[in-house]
Amino acid sequence: MMSRAAMHNVQISGAGPPTIVFAHGFGCDQNMWRFVAPAFEDRFRVVTFDHIGAGGSDLTAYDPKRYSTLDGYADDVVALCRELSMTGGIFVGHSVSAMIGILAARKAPELFGKLVLVGPSPCYINTDDYVGGFTEAQISELLEFLDSNHMGWSTAMAPIIMGNPDRPELAKELTNSFCRTDPDIAKRFARATFLSDNRADLDGFSVPSLILQCSDDVIAPQVVGQYVHHRLENSRIVNLSATGHCPNLSAPAETIAAINSFV
């Protein structure tokens, strides 16, 4: 049987012994951390990995049922970190992996001493007393779009495939070399992500956590970051000047500095 590390295309660098593990979110793979992770190599054993179904992970291990909720991903994180003999380490999760990290820490409290949550959201859909940033209608539009409009989404994922249906090899060549995503798996990951509601998992979670909040982030807006901060008893929040959802790419220096101040 394949090791967990191999299944997740794990890359390890840096000194250690304390371990810092970086988890990517929906839409990309561990390349997301390529500008940030190296900055920690002098003090930490640095681990980056791909979730099953993303990047260079073992696609044959993708089980639609297991990964239909974030729980399956959290179980993976637990298994992987245990295989890496991690205790009291640092977990840095981007986007949906922020919540995955919290779920994993709840399942295996010994793994992480600190968590960094970059653009976290415990629930994307607004309810009566909660603002998640999306109406239910918007999320169902998104999901319907993913399901029915094969064109729009997959084309966007792998634009060339549609343009040259007779020459799929062209697609491989021309689409990005960084974030390889299987459109079908991406659809399922989107569903698991945008339908998740893990607000209750925030309660009673006391592992020291740092929330990194971007300005002008459609996916995880300010109010959501504040909500997470209020509900996590042992958390700090840092508002970054970076815009969008990926400060790890658009503002690596600011992101590194914020993490450094915490770990």
């Binding site: 966007a156 021309l174 982030d217 970076a242």
Partner: protein
């Protein structure tokens, strides 16, 4: 100088014209996606003025799915690769409709390689998208057609498989019936010989019984015991003959409901206290045509089997009903389609495994241990039903019980069942009632003659057809001809034909052990033929002779 400035101004104006009116949209954006400059073409496409667009972030122009795609894929990849090509995105227009577009993005760097801004080129992809959509739906319908074809193939395969399975089932049925046929021939042959021997033994015992002095108890008991054994052996051969379908049947119109009702008293006492019996008799039940005695035997055999299967008690149900057998079922089971009367015997007993079901009709197949079962019960049922052009079928489930269904052909005539004939006594005859016995087997002839004499009749005998005819010529006093059916030179039927030419008022009784012969067509008696089954007891002989003479 002025001309130089003019020239530059002209050039600038021309470049600006190129930029503004190019057949594609141009956007310059900051690295984090804030729009800094946008050309006229793009503004016109969206129906939004340029100054409303500047300062907005690119995702602001996209519908929800595009926004998410931009944040999760577009921006990260552009940042990592420095460019991102041919992305299909929809832009929101001022009127709420969407512009399908193809977007190329490239980071522009300064001389040191530091990214300055992002240049986006946007093509109107309305046509291309439509074409792609057509391509997609063409592919979808091709897939659908393929799928339909695949299903058609699968269906075809299923039909063929069904066909093959059905043929195999028919062949299996055929093979089974051939086997039963063969076993039947064999048992039939043995039973026939055995029967003749028994006839001799029984007749002999009958005569001895009548002759020994009444006081001689010991011999009386011995004879009774021998008689008992011989009678049982006779019953056994009857069952064998029934199975081999060589037993003469005496079919008559039967109302099965009436028959089951008449039998239920007898059955209740046979079944015992622990078995609850009920009958479910269909109203408007058709008549069937069958040999009453054999049908009764069949029902008794089935009920006894049911009883044996319910050692701890249970429920026995006898049900009747009208049934149509359709062509498919008929072909599969090798019977004629049409209307049948169904009699079903159901128990709540142990049930039978498929292996037991497969062998249950075989003669001598029993699971009941030595001395308990002969394995001939169902054989009788099978032989009788087949000989009556009917059908029998076992349905059974282990632990739940068994149903055996008998189907007998519907009788379309209006005839009524005759009254029961046999009574318990041994009617005697008179010396002037002369009977001619024709029988090729010496022992049987002698013994039959002896029995008739004992009954008081006048007896003549002949060993074959020719001598029989001669006797008739010489003895006009003969009232009744009792002839065997199977004889070497002239068979019983031929003898009777000639005898009747000679003596139209002559009465006739055939005796036979089995039916493979002239008076019986397909095992069924011709009307008005009187038949005495061999081996006949004194009682049966006396009753038959009396009945025929008195007609």
């Amino acid at each position: 100088m002025a001309s130089g400035e003019d020239a530059r101004a002209l050039e600038w104006a021309e470049l600006k014209d190129l930029f503004e009116t190019a057949p594609c949209g141009y956007i310059s954006a900051s690295r984090d996606g804030v729009i800094q400059r946008v050309n006229q073409t793009f503004c016109e496409w969206l129906g939004i003025q340029g100054h409303h667009l500047v300062g907005k972030r690119l995702p602001d122009l996209l519908p929800i799915a595009g926004k998410i795609y931009y944040e999760t894929h577009f921006a990260p990849l552009l940042r990592m690769q420095g460019e991102f090509r041919e992305v299909a995105l929809d832009f929101l227009k001022a009127d709420g409709s969407r512009l399908p577009a193809l977007v190329n993005a490239q980071e522009r760097r300064d001389a040191e390689g530091v990214p300055q801004f992002v240049r986006l080129t946007i093509f109107d992809a309305t046509d291309r998208r439509r074409y792609e959509q057509e391509l997609l739906s063409a592919r979808a319908s091709a897939e659908q057609a393929n799928e339909a074809l695949r299903r058609l193939n699968a269906e075809q395969e299923r039909i063929i498989a069904d066909e093959v399975a059905q043929r195999m089932a028919v062949e299996e049925t055929l093979r089974q019936s051939q086997k039963m046929e063969a076993v039947g021939q064999l048992t039939g042959g043995i039973a026939h010989d055995f029967n003749n021997m028994l006839a001799v033994i029984i007749a002999g015992l009958n005569l001895i019984q009548r002759r020994i002095s009444p006081g001689n108890d010991d011999i009386g008991k011995l004879i009774e015991a021998s008689m008992d054994g011989a009678t049982k052996a006779a019953a056994l051969t009857q069952r064998l003959l029934a199975f081999s379908r060589q037993q003469p049947l005496d079919p008559e119109p039967v109302n099965s409901n009436g028959m089951v009702a008449e039998m239920s008293e007898l059955l209740r006492s046979t079944l015992g206290e622990t078995i609850h019996m009920e009958t479910v008799l269909a109203s408007g039940l058709w008549k069937t045509v069958a040999d009453r005695n054999q049908l009764e035997n069949a029902i008794v055999n089935l009920s006894v089997n049911a009883r044996d299967a319910m050692a701890g008690g249970g429920r026995l149900t006898i049900e009747t009903g009208n049934a149509g057998i359709d062509d498919a079922y008929a072909v599969e089971h090798g019977i004629a389609p049409g209307q049948y009367v169904m009699i079903a015997v159901t128990d709540t007993g142990t049930g039978m495994t498929p292996e037991v079901i497969a062998k249950a009709f075989d003669p001598f197949y029993t699971t009941k241990g030595v001395g308990k079962g002969t394995g001939l019960g169902l054989s009788q049922v099978f032989g009788f039903v087949k000989q009556s052009s009917g059908h029998v079928k076992i349905y059974s489930e282990i632990g739940h019980g068994t149903t055996v269904r008998i189907y007998l052909p519907r009788y379309y005539g209006t005839g009524e069942a005759s009254a029961r004939k046999l009574s318990g006594d041994t009617p005697a005859g008179a010396a002037h009632e002369v009977i001619l016995v024709v029988e090729d087997d010496y022992n049987v002839r002698e013994l039959t003659g002896q029995m008739l004499r004992d009954l008081g009749y006048g007896v003549l005998s002949a060993d074959g057809g020719q001598s029989g005819l001669r006797m008739l010529h010489e003895h006009p006093e003969v009232k009744l001809l009792l002839t065997d059916v199977v004889m070497p030179d002239m068979n019983g039927r031929q003898l009777v034909e000639e005898a009747l030419q000679l003596r139209t008022d002559l009465k006739v009784i055939y005796t036979t052990g089995y039916t493979r012969n002239a008076i019986v067509h397909n095992g069924v008696l011709d009307p008005d033929v009187q038949l005495l089954q061999k081996p006949a007891t004194l009682k049966a002989l006396s009753q038959k002779v009396r009945q025929v003479l008195d007609k």
